[in-house]
């Protein structure tokens, strides 16, 4: 049983295209996140989403937008892709209550390559 899943695992696309990455968690968590890992392995938070509250890292371009159709999903939409968007994107989730309080569970990542 996969706790946090992401699709696709790999995504290769041309500059200027619009693409989406999907994330689903079956843990019943109330908060989901998106992180970007660059080529030097540096991990940076992009978004945090808890029910109706979206917290955006101010350094994230507005070409990136998270969309949450329901509590178990937080998809990442990227418009007008640029070469610098090439990275591995990780989805994560956490719960503000219970035994795994604040522990973030990560998905396997989506490697995005922009040509």
């Amino acid at each position: 049983d996969t706790a946090v899943s992401q699709t696709p695992k790999y995504l290769v696309t041309q500059m200027g295209n619009d693409k989406s990455i999907k994330c689903e968690q079956n843990l019943g968590h109330d908060t989901m996140y998106w992180y970007k890992q660059d080529s030097k392995k540096f991990l940076k938070i992009m978004f945090s989403y808890n029910n109706k509250e979206l917290i955006i890292n101010e350094t994230v371009p507005n070409r990136f937008s998270p969309k949450s159709p329901d509590k178990a999903h937080l998809n990442l939409h990227i418009n007008s892709l640029e070469l610098g968007d090439s990275a591995v994107y990780f989805c994560a989730s956490s719960q503000k209550r219970g035994p795994s309080y604040n522990e973030q569970f990560f998905g396997p990542g989506t490697r995005l390559t922009v040509l």
Partner: protein, 113 residues
């Protein structure tokens, strides 16, 4: 702004040797502290976390970490490294429970036979 520093980008140890990975944070109050491990091509797995209480915390896979407030450090240790421990290790902090994680730059651990 809070920051996390992992001074060692690469560390190589022999199998069976002890390991210590360093992590320092910069923040006015004590944040929530975490260590994650990332195996090649994989996502991140939580090794251990510190919120409060006993400053020596035990994690999975035989790892432990010690929080030292005076040094703003949260170093990860393992008494005897196995070849399967070769991976990238990330220290992370959160301002409070439920907040977003700020990661250090990571330390790549290589294990010699």
């Amino acid at each position: 702004a809070q920051s996390v520093t992992q001074p060692d980008i690469h560390i190589t140890v022999s199998e069976g040797a002890s390991l210590e990975l360093r992590c320092n944070y910069s923040y006015g109050a004590t944040p929530y502290l975490f260590w994650y491990v990332q195996s090649p091509g994989q996502g991140l797995q939580l090794l251990l976390k510190y919120f409060s209480g006993d400053t020596l915390v035990q994690g999975i896979k035989g790892f432990e970490a010690e929080f030292k407030r005076s040094q703003s450090s949260f170093n990860l240790r393992k008494p005897s490294v196995h070849w399967s421990d070769a991976a990238e290790y990330f220290c992370a902090v959160a301002l409070n429970a439920g907040n977003m994680l700020t990661f250090g730059g990571g330390t790549r651990l290589m294990v010699k036979p």
